[in-house]
Symmetry: C2
Subunit: 417 residues, 2 copies
Amino acid sequence: MTQQLSGACVIAQSGGPTAVINASAYGVIRTALDSPQITAVYGAEYGILGVLNEALFDLSQEDAAELEMLLYTPSSELGSCRYKLADPARDQKDYHRILEVLQKYNIRYFFLNGGNDSMDTCHKVSNFLDEAGYECRVIGIPKTIDNDLCGTDHAPGYGSAAKYIATTTAEVQKDAYVYDVGTVVILEIMGRDAGWLTGAAALASLSGAPPDLIYLPEVPFEMERFLAEVTAIYQQKGKCLVAVSEGIKYADGQYVSEGKASASDGFGHAMLGGLAYNLAEEVREACGAKVRGIELSLLQRCSAHLAAKTDVDEAFSAGVFAVQQALAGATGKMVSLQRDENTESYRCRMVLEDLALAANLVKKVPPEWICQEGNFVTPEFYDYVLPLIQGENPRPVQDGLPRFAKLKKIRVNLSQT
Amino acid sequence: MTQQLSGACVIAQSGGPTAVINASAYGVIRTALDSPQITAVYGAEYGILGVLNEALFDLSQEDAAELEMLLYTPSSELGSCRYKLADPARDQKDYHRILEVLQKYNIRYFFLNGGNDSMDTCHKVSNFLDEAGYECRVIGIPKTIDNDLCGTDHAPGYGSAAKYIATTTAEVQKDAYVYDVGTVVILEIMGRDAGWLTGAAALASLSGAPPDLIYLPEVPFEMERFLAEVTAIYQQKGKCLVAVSEGIKYADGQYVSEGKASASDGFGHAMLGGLAYNLAEEVREACGAKVRGIELSLLQRCSAHLAAKTDVDEAFSAGVFAVQQALAGATGKMVSLQRDENTESYRCRMVLEDLALAANLVKKVPPEWICQEGNFVTPEFYDYVLPLIQGENPRPVQDGLPRFAKLKKIRVNLSQT
């Protein structure tokens, strides 16, 4: 397996975008373009669909300077999809098609950048190609703002989202606390299964503008207790800022975001407004305050203008490392970020881990990082997140606005290659 | 009136906060502290209430470096209020109380920083003090993200909000356009009466990521036409990004944000989610797309991390100018920003205008700056806004997070002064 393997490579971006997933793509593309063993560098349009549909961009035709702009461009520039491959034990059609396309284009290096679903896809594709006897090195590159990926200290994309959330929470706190007459503001933050993003709101305390309460999916939610806690702070300070995860659940496992609608009128209207609006309505009824619900929505995953330099650098390095390791013979692995626990200052290195470690599992916030009352995080949580949000990405600005990568996206035409 | 007038000054911040209202306060405070004629510099806690309640901070006791941090601190650091003075023709109680406090503290300079309501307050206070024969120079300093203030080319606060909106729209467009399967995203932007903020979303086109449609309050809204326009773009591109103003109204004057709730179920639930959610639901029904509603909410007015340097500089200069003009004898005026129309590059100077020009009036987007179809803005709109969003404010960052001003806020104790 460690012999020189010559052939083309393909990079596919998968799942929900982040502020830095393009930095990983750039790490792969730049390194691949510079590697003599790699004969062509293809980008799959719309993730794995680009392979299935033979919709591949020839990235060697892009301007080098524009490719570099991927370091500052949010979202997945090659496109993403919500398509999930079937279980190969039941349906191998897609896998045969992938093999067919890889063979046709002599693709020997396959890089997929995504979250736990994508690591699962990598795992299945890698196994299938192995069994089919087609030599192709498959490496997964982690990406998720949710940070719920197992097998890695953290996932590229999380640091920038956490920085955005902490910064925005601090700014909103200043605004929410501005009036003499009290206001309660409820910030809804992403994280269906884990509270990594919502916990990051606590870092606003370093700007002197913390939220008062934080509710994570790891702690069973009790509406009465929540209302009592908000009301107590509101009565004491005349103001209250609350950060809630979209994924908070009652003890019986039901999402709070689903709860009120059916209970209240059966029309499902409560769902329209989302969790923040519904909790705002509950708080308004409970304590009579002026309440505002704010959902950070897509903003928390696409705000490249607030990307953490540390995160951008790590995302890029993960892409570089993936190509280097594949060239050296690795396959069926994912890039993992390992934090050096023995140094005072933050240090992180890349290693390879088994794809199975990450596939379809969810990493939650450890219980000991959540305060006993279940409504804030502990100093250990700060220690974990703070290094990940450091550094300002020196993003290019033109006319006062972000300058994104402009790729030509020229489709591969095999007859010409 | 132009003789030397010695005495204390007070600065009050009013209305909804902006990213740069503290820069104007700093302009006033710094200039006042450096002016020998001004014997004390007070900050009113919670706007005009601070005067009424005799809740005044002695700003001479603040560290100079912390005061300077006001240039990078969002929201109104002295606090704001929603209190509106009565019409003095009906009730002069508040005005007599204001006079009493001004006399007690020998306040001879009164600066109020706010929107059209605040200019009205300035106007009334100024007239009352004149009639009472108490010499006090009253100057209004404009501030509003909405930019709907008459008597000035634009209002400090607008440029930074416009920059935030344009940047965020560009980033959201990249995200909304990422999938193979279409998505419609509806961005709800502030502006109850005027479309200045919503129109700024168009500038995202300079990042290559424009919204497809823009709906302003200046154009009567037709739901059927809106749905047809969104559906047409969705069917053509498989995606659509729409910017709507919170203030869009039907031809009969009813706000669209109020319309559906009572019409649909009478429970008022539709209002909870806000306009973006309701329009998202309408679009979902109309074209079957996956639709996401995003309300920019407070974020668009408190995002100091994206403040435009031009805006910060002008906000600061407006405060400086207010003090300089008051020292020179002006009173009963507001600071107005005048754009030099005769130069190729943007130039803006400060002048004084009558407070009555701005009080309680609303400046709308001119009809000729809105395209004929009523669903986008014209190049003239770009020309107007673009200079206002220029420049990055070199904000201090500590631990990867914004470093805000830390004021001691020491209450004035007259027995010590």
